[in-house]
Amino acid sequence: MARLRSPRDRAPVLLLIPAVAAAIVALLPLWYLIDQATSQGFGAVWDEIVQDRTLWLVLRSLGLTAVVTTGCVVIGVIAAVLVVKTSLPGRRIWHVALTVPLAIPSYVAAYTWVSWRPEIAGFGGAALVLTLGSFPYVYLPVASALSRLDPATEEVATSLGLAPWRVLLTVSVRQVRPAIGAGALLVALYVLSDFGAVGTMRYEAFSWVIYGAFRSGFNPARAAILACVLVAVAAVFVAAESRLRGRPSFIRLGAGAPRPQQAVALGRATPVALGFTTAVLALALGFPVVNLAIWFNRGLSADFDLGAIGSALGDTLLLSAAGALLTMALAIPVGALAARRRGPLVQLVERATYIGHGLPAIVIALSMVFVGVHLLEPIYQRTPLVALAYAVLFLPLGVGAVRGAVEQSPVVLEEVGRSLGYSPMAVLRRITLRLAAPGVAAGTALVMLTAVKELPATLLLHPTGSETLAMGLWSNTNIGRYAAAAPYAATLVLLASVPTLVLTRMSRTLAPNDAGGLTP
């Protein structure tokens, strides 16, 4: 064992085993889908798929996906650059606030818009609501990647005479392309799976027919067949993203720990930058929150039950924390492996973890019901199964974040660690993960933020006797008790700011140049 082994030799078994386990978890829904889809024979499968309407609906979904993903990349990248790399006033507050829109359920956001302007319904309304609710999928990984960049490259560019803003565009943003791609993939998959926004906005997308098959046809077999089409589309997205990403070519070669970043002085552009972040937040967060306040004030059904909301808050925290913990435990080995090794098995494992995110949550929920009653009866309708369902739904949020962060940290340091006699696990723990901490933190925040608003799986699988904020919000809006629903929504929004706040502090995403007195 005297020879220095390159980390590219072969995947360490101790990472590979949990990674494969994660992939198996992520593929659990396929068991249910295949069982259901083939329950009426393969002829039925073929008939259902080969219809003009199927293609038409897939195209409608793809159109929406293209527009929303583009919008999210533009908003997410600009916001991340402004917050992490410039002298934008109040950056720490912006950083937290810009992630909160993720926690607003899409049907609530859509409802506030469409009840204000009914004519907004349709493609435009759906695209607006989905873009405003999903850009944090891009913002968070990009902000965390930007914060890990080695300023040396930028300094070289500056010394060669490039203006600061050109350095940002040509050097900084280009270096975080993998993070942008990972975020864009999450957005694209989410748009495929969403029903809340397209349902309320009455834009007939592919997820409509899947929900329709459950809701009005009571036909799980048909829903499963159609969901398989979505799995295929999601697989194409995932493969395309990993092809575009290619091999990580921008890694830091210098010191292990990044030096403090230099913030680009915005100068006279400050009002424009502030205007941008304010406008984004006003639309994504301000608009729904103001509407909630109006609902609450109208007050006819406002029986503000502090006890009920407190206990819903506790249940939400418990389920989302359990879900985030399990998701990250599964995501770290997959992300760490995928960053360093491109073998076929590793690629398969990584791609498998993305499937769940592209499927409507009702499909995942029912597949976990199926898994629960057939395999995991003792934990059926108990917390561990809810956590497992969250892991299936949100694994890629963690995997993408971990992978991006590990890719950015220098391989050389790991090799040095190995040569000093560290075991592969010790290298992972003491070097790789420590350097990738901001990415792991961003992933955890993403998973928690998304889990607190999760509804379909939570409704079917929650431990009997518990009620989450999202459930309370839903059951009140469902019967038009908007005033009673408002406190649940407000608590959800407040809760959603906690993970980013805590994790930003822990991982010091913004710390280096906060010392410069740029924040209030």
Partner: protein, 351 residues
Amino acid sequence: MKRSTRQGLRKLAALTAACTLFASGCSDGGSSGGGDQSDGDATTLTVYSGRNVELIEPLVEIFEKESGIDVELRGGGTPELAAQILTEGDNSPADIFFAQDAGALGAVAKTGQFEKLPADIIDLVPDTYRAADSTWVGTSGRSRVIVYNPDLVPDPPTEIDGLLDPQWKGQLGFAPTNASWHSFVTALRLLRGEDGARDWLERFIANEPQAYENNAVVRDAVDAGDIAMGPINHYYLYELIDEVGADKVTAKNQFLSGGDPGGLVNVAGVGILASAPHRDAALEFVRFLLGAEAQEYFATATFEYPLVAGVDPPEGVPSLDSLEPPEIDLADLDSLEETLDLLAEVGLLTR
């Protein structure tokens, strides 16, 4: 190398154990609010409720007090819960499925997952509002009506075709995503055939109806005089009267007679699962729902129609006997998928 592998394994095992401990701790914490089916004397009845939990919780509390039986309400959308029951099969922990509409009950009944209800329960409710094979029974009813503004419509139509009159162009409202609207269109299909229903819908579209988010908004728009009329459920008007007082409400309900499709009466109802772990308690719960107390609750709290003889309808609402709903087997309302296809085809469902 070997040593470090073993160390790594040990750590992995410790991590797994910690996770399991954490998870089981959570599950204990999470389920402490309710009992476990297996834990001894106290019976805990599990009800999958497609009816809103906020609405029926007060009723369930009365039942718990009177019977000494604990009830665990698992709320959700009626169709999602139906799908859950179909997926669970015989392993379902549910005793009872309390559904918002007859179509979902029919879908579960079709798979044989409901047991037959005894005659003394079934006979409490008129034939029209229960399953022909006794697998489910209605617990409360709701009628489709036309809500109208008497200032704009002094002489409201007595049949659904009255909405097609060109004089109402641009003055009609409806809620295209509402489940009760879909049930109405299903009834229209069943009564007039696909072509008849398409014809009605196309003429309705020609009158340029305005789409609203839900029935309550249609009601408010009619009451405010923004539009003249709209087809909704009967109880929305009484909810408004209850909230703001009768003297402040302008809108009125027009009940359609003569078996008009626009006067469809649908029910919420219950079925007991054949696999129910607590059959006797489940029967007691269903009897309670059809008892005077619960029936009065539906009439006063949600302004729905009681279905059991001898219980008065909500104040100011015409009696169930006086209605002349279309003759439809409510279980047939599960052909909603075709309805949605038709609505999408004529362009009323989506944009």
